[in-house]
């Protein structure tokens, strides 16, 4: 999946190019970048993750089953608000629950505060709790339980509570 930084990098390259539109499609995602027509220029972006699109369709049947070998990431409708990304503090295996079979730390819709533990990462046999870092409502859990993540990868997205 592309990170925000990746997209920024692509934008920087395109900024200096003569093209008005770029479509990038792999089997994991599709990215469309379009130069806006306004006088100030700029870019609009559409970023669609195939897995996520599939998850949205399958959500009613798979949500909470936890049986599937690699359950699709859980998502909720994104309302267009500026979302807070909770990123992996280090490389490791992402777990949604404190131990196998236990209830997940949070589900989509959960209201969290900045010190709420939302997941744990296992790195070199050590468990590191992942804190929300901001208060708000969980709108997306981007990673399936037990999946390996890179440092700084987005794990969850929050809709921040109004200050």
């Amino acid at each position: 999946m592309l990170t925000h930084e990746d997209i920024q990098d692509i934008l920087r390259v395109l900024e200096t190019s003569p093209f008005d539109e770029l479509e990038l499609e792999t089997d994991r995602f599709k990215l469309t970048l379009r130069r806006a027509a306004g006088p100030q220029g700029g870019w609009s972006q559409e970023h669609e993750t195939h897995a996520r699109a599939a998850a949205a369709v399958a959500a009613p049947t798979t949500a909470g089953s936890g049986v599937a070998k690699s359950p699709p990431p859980v998502t909720a409708a994104l309302a267009g608000a500026v979302l807070v990304e909770i990123r992996a503090p280090l490389i490791g295996t992402f777990y949604r629950a404190p131990k196998p079979g236990a209830a997940p730390f949070v589900e989509v819709g959960a209201v969290v505060s900045s010190d709420t533990v939302v997941a744990i990462l296992e790195t070199m046999k050590l468990m590191t709790p992942v804190h929300a870092g901001a208060s708000g409502r969980v709108v997306e859990i981007c990673i399936a339980d037990g999946q390996f993540v890179e440092q700084h990868q987005v794990l969850l997205r929050l809709e921040p509570s109004q200050p």
């Binding site: 280090l90 490389i91 490791g92 236990a102 790195t123 070199m124 046999k125 050590l126 390996f148």
Partner: protein, 457 residues
């Protein structure tokens, strides 16, 4: 029988260590590596490397079926499990037996006897070893009665626990009922075994262990090691002989360990762990580790016995060929575990690629490692990257030699805990010898405090 081809069901420095002994013995080695370790040093050193599964240990190094299938395919006649992973797994030992592969280790029955904490404790009592007062409890009435007899504070321990997990300390009877219930349900949840037992809480003590070798009939000991420098039940520095132990106590502890091994008719290399009270006048049986241990080079240094070679000879069915009076402990050895972790950042694990690695060498210095410049330290396994072992005439010289060795140990690309070792080696309390298992936690807190004060000025 003669072992000609041996499967190594492990990774890291111990895999390299086993390969080294096999080379000397003329045994072909087959390494069973996960996908994350296919380009590791042991994978290159082994005569053959086969993949046992994906990076996640549960699907590779911890998968009995996958390991045995790989060993069968490779056509080996023996399997060495190393330490950790499946080393003390009776199911693996049994599966090897069924497949006609010699398991380099104890019998499945012996693994079960020492793997179940209550069974291990019962054997200790039967062999006449002192144990921390306590015992199994199944009801609140039993717990109340037993706690009253052994005295407060107590620990509630899960039979399936270990390594600091499944422990609950209670200072008085007030919440015994609720805590017991909680301990039982947690034990069931965490270990799939609801059994718990009580023990008197011993606030401070030293961790001293005795190395054993047995051939299924005869059992001898190879002296002791002190492993009290620990953080969160993870050993950091080991040394042998344990410093400053009264001679009588040391001898009684060695005899107790041998008695324990004899009771099991123990086969292979094993270690009996004891808790020694800080005054140095009493010891209690803790548990037995039925495998080669990380810190085995300490014993190899002070006795001159190659423990891995002995394991293999015993597995081949040879008698010990070593009498107790042939074991001479000479000098003093220390081992420092170099881990890829960032001490300054709360011991955060530091996986990554090692860009440069330089290790000390010279008389009385041994380094067991699987990393070099360019090696990857995967995030899936433990953080041990090297063990630096020194041997000298006495402890003072060994300390000096270790300080020199650490100064020549340079690893870049991942954070390592070498600075902490340097700090401990220069600490007067450690240098005096005989620290307890709370020592490191105490020192770390003090050093953190001192740093905070320094930062304010």
């Amino acid at each position: 029988m003669r072992i000609r081809r041996l499967f190594i069901a492990n990774r890291g420095e111990i895999a390299v260590r086993i390969i080294r002994s096999c080379r000397r013995l003329g045994i072909d080695t087959v390494l069973g590596a996960s996908e994350a370790d296919l380009d590791s040093t042991p994978a290159r050193l082994a005569d053959l490397c086969v993949c046992v599964g994906p990076a996640v240990a549960a699907k590779s190094y911890l998968d009995v079926g996958a390991v045995v299938a790989a060993a069968r395919t490779a056509g080996v006649d023996a399997l060495h499990p190393g330490y950790g992973f499946l080393a003390e797994n009776a199911a693996l030992a049994r599966a090897c037996e069924d497949a006609g592969i010699v398991f380099v280790g104890p019998t499945p029955t012996q693994l079960e006897a020492v793997g179940d904490k209550l069974a291990a404790r019962r054997h200790a009592v039967d062999a006449g070893l002192p144990v921390v007062p306590g015992g199994p409890v199944a009801s609140l009435a039993e717990a109340r009665e037993l706690a009253g007899r052994i005295g407060w504070p107590i620990l509630i321990k899960a039979v399936g626990g270990g390594g600091g997990r499944g422990l609950k300390r209670l200072d008085n009877p007030a919440n015994l009922g609720a805590q017991l219930e909680l301990a039982i349900s947690e034990a069931q949840g965490a270990f799939g075994d609801a059994r718990v037992y009580l023990e008197r809480y011993v606030p401070s003590g030293r961790h001293v262990e005795v190395q054993l070798l047995g051939d299924g009939h005869e059992v001898i000991h190879l002296g002791d090691r002190d492993c009290s420098v620990q953080r969160r039940y993870q050993k950091l520095i080991e040394e042998g002989p344990a410093p400053d132990l009264p001679a009588g106590l040391r001898a009684r502890m060695a005899d107790a360990a041998v008695a324990y091994g004899r009771r099991l008719a123990y086969r292979g290399a094993g270690t009996v762990e004891f808790l020694v009270d800080t005054a140095g006048n009493a010891f209690y049986f803790l548990e037995m580790n039925a495998r080669i241990q990380v810190e085995h080079p300490v014993t190899e240094a002070i006795t001159g016995v190659d423990l891995v070679e002995r394991q293999i000879a015993i597995a081949e069915g040879h008698p010990l060929r070593l009498r107790q009076d042939e074991i001479q402990v000479s000098g003093h050895a220390i081992e420092c575990r170099i881990n890829a972790e960032d001490v300054a950042k709360g011991f955060a694990p530091g996986p990554g690629r090692i860009s440069a690695a330089q290790f000390p060498a010279g008389a009385g210095i041994r380094v067991d490692t699987h990393v070099e410049a360019g090696s990857r330290v995967p995030p899936f396994y433990d953080s041990l990257v090297a063990k630096v072992i020194v041997h000298a005439h006495d402890r003072a010289q060994a300390l000096t030699r270790m300080s020199g060795a650490l100064a020549n140990c340079r690893i870049a690309g991942v954070p390592v805990n070498t600075p902490l070792h340097v700090e401990i080696l220069s600490d007067p309390e450690f240098r005096r010898g005989g620290v307890d298992t709370q020592y490191l936690a105490r020192r770390l807190a003090a050093w953190d405090g001192a740093r905070a004060v320094a930062a304010e000025h």
